[in-house]
Amino acid sequence: MRPGWSRRRLAVAARSWLSTSVLLVLVAATASILANKSITNVVTSFLIYTSLVVGYQMFMGNSGIVSFGHVAFFGIGAYCAALLNIPPETKELALPALPTFLQQTQTGALPAIVIAAALSALVALVIGFAPSRMQAETMGIATFAVLVIVYTVIHNWEEVTRGGLGIYDIPPVMTPVYALLGLVIITGVALAYKASPYGLRIQGARDDPLAVESLGVHLVPERLFCFVVSAAVMGAGGAMWAHNARAFGPASFYFRDTFNIIAMMIVGGSASVTGAIVGSAVVTVVSELMRFAENGIVIGMIEVPQIHGAVQLSVALLILATLFLRPTGIMGTGELILPFSQWARDFKKWIRR
C-alpha cells in the first residue's frame, strides 16, 4: 500500500463504487430496453448532468467550501470540446476567425473530453491559486469572480465562441451507455479521492482547520489540489454534456446551473458521492414535473396559466426543506453499500431448497 493510504478506506470505497455502479447500470439498461426515444434522452441527459454534480461534490462535499465558480469549468469543458470536435465545414462557416489549425481539426469525442478536462484543470490551477490562500468562508465567494470572469470571456470572445449566439453542430456521440461509462468512471474518481489521504485531510479541515494544521497538514495546497481535480471532472462532464446538448450558449454556464447543481448536491447529501447521484435524480424529477406548471397546461376544460418561476421556486423550497428538516441530505454522510455477500448467501440458500 502506498505510504499514507489506507487499505481499509479504499476497500470501503470500492464496495460503494460497485454498489452505485450496479444501480446505475440497472437504470441505463432499463432505458435502453424500453427503446423509447424520449426516455433514452432523459436518462442520457440525467447521467451526464449527474457527472457534473459529482464533480462539484468532490469539492464542496469534502472541503465544506461553497464554491460558486465550478460551473465555469463546466463551461470551459463544453466549449473546449465543441471547438475540438465540431466538423471543420461548420467551423469555417460559423467561426471564420478561428485559427486555422483549430478550424481544420476534428479530434473525435474522447480526445476532446480528455483535453477539455486538462484545460479546465489548468485554468483552475492558475485562477484557484489566490482563493486557496484565503480562509474557507472567503474562498467560496472569491470563486464568484471565477464564474463571472469565465462567463464574461465566453460571452464576449465572439471569434472563438460566437458569444451570445451560441455554438452548434457538435456530433451526437453520447448514448446512454457512454454516459453511464462516464458517470461510473467519475464516481470512481470521486470515491477514490474521498478515501485518499488528500480527501480525508480536507474533510478534517471542513470541521476544524486548526486541528488539521496541528497534525502537519498545509491547507493551501490541499485546497488547491481539490479545486483543480474537481475542476477537471467538471471539464470532462462539460465535454460530455456538449456532445449531448449539441448546441448551447454562455447562459448554460451561469447562475441557473450553479443553483441547480448546488440544489442537487444538498438535497442528496453534500458529504456523500451517492448523495450527489440521488439528489440529482430527485431534483430532476421535481423540475420536470414543475415544468408543466411553468409552461401552462390544459387539463380537459381547465386551463392552468403559466406559473413563471415554478421550477426554480420548487427547487429552492426543496433546498430549504432539506436544510430545515434533514441538513445532511437524503444520504447523510454515508455511501450506498449494497450487501452483495449477504445476497449471495441468501441466494445460495434459496437455491438449495
Binding site: 500500500m1 505510504p3 499514507g4 489506507s6 480525508l200 486541528a211 494544521e213 496541528s214 497534525l215 498545509h218
Partner: protein, 248 residues
Amino acid sequence: MRNTLRTVGASKSFGGIRALQEVSIEISEGAIIGLIGANGSGKTTLVHVVTGVLQPDSGQVFLGDTDITGWRTDRIACQGIGRTFQVTRLFGTLSVVDNVELGVMSTLKEKDVDGTVKHLLNRLKVDEWASQGASILPYGVQRRVEIARALGAHPRFLLLDEPAAGLNEEESHELLEMIYGISKDPDFGCGVLIIDHNPRLILRLCERICVLDKGRVLAEGTPQEIRSNPKVIEAYLGESYASAKGGQ
C-alpha cells in the same frame, strides 16, 4: 545528544494583558514534564507559541538547534511536534477511526496505516468506539481519541493541554498511567509535556515540573523540589496541597 524542544525568553501580550513574560522551558525527548499554574497563568498560551498558533512578541522556540520561532503551525507539526487542545477539537462529522486515521495519514509517510490505527485505538482503549461519530462520545473517550490522533504521526514531542480536565479521580489516574506507558513505549516514545491545573496528579507522574504564575516561571525542578519550594507553596500549592496532604 538527545533532541530538546525549548523556548528561550518567550513573551506574549494581548492588548494590555501580559500572558507570557520571558518564559524559558525545556523538554527533552523521552522525558515527561509537567506544567502547572492557575487558570490564566499562561499555560495554553505557551503551547500556542511553541506550536506556531501564536507568534511570540519576543523570545525564541528551538527544536534541537533549529530556530522554529514564527514557523507555520503545520510546518512545526511536521517536525514531530504533536498536541491536544484544552477543549477537544475532534472532527465532528467523522468517526473515531477517521479521526485517528487522519492523524496517521497526515504526513503521508506511514506504510501500514490500518495497522497503526488499530494499534493506537487499542493502546488508548477506544476500540469499542471505533465506528462512532466523534461528536457523540463520552468526555473521557473524546480525550483519548484526541491523544490517539496526535500520536498518529509518531511525534517526537507531545504537548497535552489539560488532558484530564473534566475527568473524575479514577479516570484521570487511568489516563495519566496510559500517557506514561505511551511515552516510554519504544514505538511511540516521545517527550511529553502535560498541562494541568490540578497539581496532585502532575506531582506524581512527571519527572520535572514547571510552575507558571501570571505568565512567569515561578519555579522549575523535580517534584520534590517543587513540593518544598516556599514560593510555590505560598502562591499556588498552599491550600489545595495542604488539604490533599491532610487527606492522604
